[in-house]
């Protein structure tokens, strides 16, 4: 008999036998996995950003089904995914407002000068270890873009020495929030129009010496607010969002114009109109 034929027959029969055995074994040792886990996993966006606190979408899906974890933790998926998963699980749909990361600093290098020539490792984290970084303002954004480099969605870019967040692309996964050594990035409700771009808790004089666009704690915004939604805490206005009607008056009266309205500082001429 042809030796090639023998080789084929013998190897083929060994393979067939193993396949048969495996087939039987897969029946005998079949594990019933909850099919819900797979379908919930499919509903999740699958970007594995870890924003929910679980290592990857598959593990979050397992946690939802097995441990009844709430379904609202997926920031990139947003309301669409929440609705889908709620429908799968037969739970009531909980709507959640979209959140985006926002930066609490407007101290571009032209407004807030460096106090030294920092030549170390070019990351915020490293610079922050050197006595709080190179900026005159100890609360200011260091501008090395640690947040930009960790953003998995390409929503951030460096513009004029500060990270710019594209709110259309930002999914609110909060990875940049955890990365910032100055804790300047926070998740904010996307619908909120007014937002203070300063985090300095210093008194007015110290703030003004360091930065021309810092909040000096004049409390004009708090006094002018028609809804009394603002209170001054640590020389910074704090919003009570339940009272705020997004009228934007605080943004218009701010002398430093660092309360942004709709993602932009209010231009100078608009500032005069309401006070007149």
């Amino acid at each position: 008999m042809n030796p090639i034929l023998i080789a084929i027959i013998i190897l083929g029969s060994v393979a067939l036998l193993s396949a048969l055995l495996l087939g039987i074994a897969s029946r005998v040792f079949h594990v019933n996995e909850n099919p819900l886990i797979a379908s919930v996993g499919e509903a999740l966006p699958g970007v594995n950003c870890g924003g929910c606190g679980y290592p990857g979408c598959a593990n979050y899906a397992k946690a939802i089904v097995d441990n009844n974890v709430e379904v609202t933790l997926c920031a990139p998926g947003g309301n669409e995914v929440i609705a889908k998963i709620s429908a799968l699980l037969g739970r009531a749909v909980v709507a959640k407002d979209a959140e985006v990361a926002r930066l609490s600093c407007f101290g571009k290098p032209e407004f807030c000068a460096p106090r030294c020539d920092y030549q170390g490792i070019q990351t915020c984290r490293a610079a922050n270890l050197q006595n709080g970084g190179q900026k005159k303002c100890l609360y200011g954004c260091l501008g090395f873009g640690d947040c930009v480099s960790v953003c998995p969605f390409g929503a951030m870019s460096m513009v004029d020495g500060l990270p710019f967040i594209d709110e259309e692309k930002c999914t609110g996964c909060a990875i940049c929030v955890r990365e910032c050594p100055k804790k300047l990035l926070t998740l904010q409700n996307k619908k909120r129009q007014v937002y203070l771009h300063c985090a300095s808790k210093e008194f007015g004089k110290v703030v003004k010496e360091a930065c021309t666009v810092g909040c000096n704690g004049c409390s004009l915004c708090a006094r002018k607010c028609p809804e009394k939604a603002l209170t001054m805490v640590d020389n910074l206005p704090i919003w009570d969002w339940s009272k705020c009607t997004q009228c934007g008056l605080c943004a218009k009266v701010c002398p430093s114009r660092i309360i942004f309205l709709d993602g932009r500082p209010v231009p100078k001429e608009a500032k005069e109109a309401p006070s007149a």
């Binding site: 030796p3 060994v14 193993s18 040792f29």
Partner: protein, 192 residues
């Protein structure tokens, strides 16, 4: 009887698969982070190696050798070992899902674990009979587990040590493995 004892001592200590023959380094580096997974991996390897050795010996002696197909040794053995690993994975998934999760990617990697294939081929080279083949497989796997457990114990200790940054992680693992291997050189000549 005494030569079976010699095979056991030889496979576990003198010709240790990881530390003297340098086979199966991949799981040795990969799954030795803590004792528990090391023991789990060791268990899986013992199971696979004994079974693989028994089956490959039968295949060699009753299928390949009579038809002079020794040149098919590697592919036939890999075939059997791959299916065996699949089987072990199925059983583990059913019996111990936690262990299955802990072993992760390394369980399928036994498929291409050179220690398993090496062990099977060595038995053919040494012209062992069936009993000796099975004993050699078991002893080799025990030696593998022994090395893995020793190494993971050392690694667990090192986790809490102050280590210069430039050797942290993989470099230190290789240095440790090298020293461990040198220690095993002390057994050389114990069994001829």
């Amino acid at each position: 009887m005494s030569d079976i004892l010699l095979i056991i001592v030889g496979a576990v200590l003198v010709q240790n698969f990881v530390l003297t023959r340098f086979l199966g380094i991949c799981p040795f580096m990969g799954v030795s982070r803590n004792l528990e997974t090391a023991l789990g991996m060791g268990g899986a390897v013992i199971f696979v190696m004994v079974l693989a050795n028994a089956i490959t010996w039968l295949i060699h002696h009753f299928l390949l050798a009579p038809y002079h197909l020794e040149y098919l040794l590697t592919i036939a053995f890999i075939l059997v070992i791959a299916s065996l690993v699949q089987l072990v994975e199925m059983i583990l998934k059913k019996v111990s899902p936690a262990l299955n999760q802990a072993l992760g990617i390394y369980l399928p990697l036994i498929t291409t674990n050179c220690a398993v294939l090496g062990c099977a081929i060595l038995c053919i080279t040494f012209r062992y009979d069936f009993i000796r083949t099975v004993v050699f497989g078991g002893a080799s796997a025990v030696g593998f587990t022994f090395a893995l457990v020793l190494f993971s114990g050392i690694r667990e200790r090192l986790e809490f040590s102050r280590i210069p940054r430039f050797v942290q992680g993989l470099p230190l693992n290789f240095i440790t493995a090298g020293i461990l291997s040198m220690a095993f050189m002390g057994f050389a000549g114990l069994v001829k």
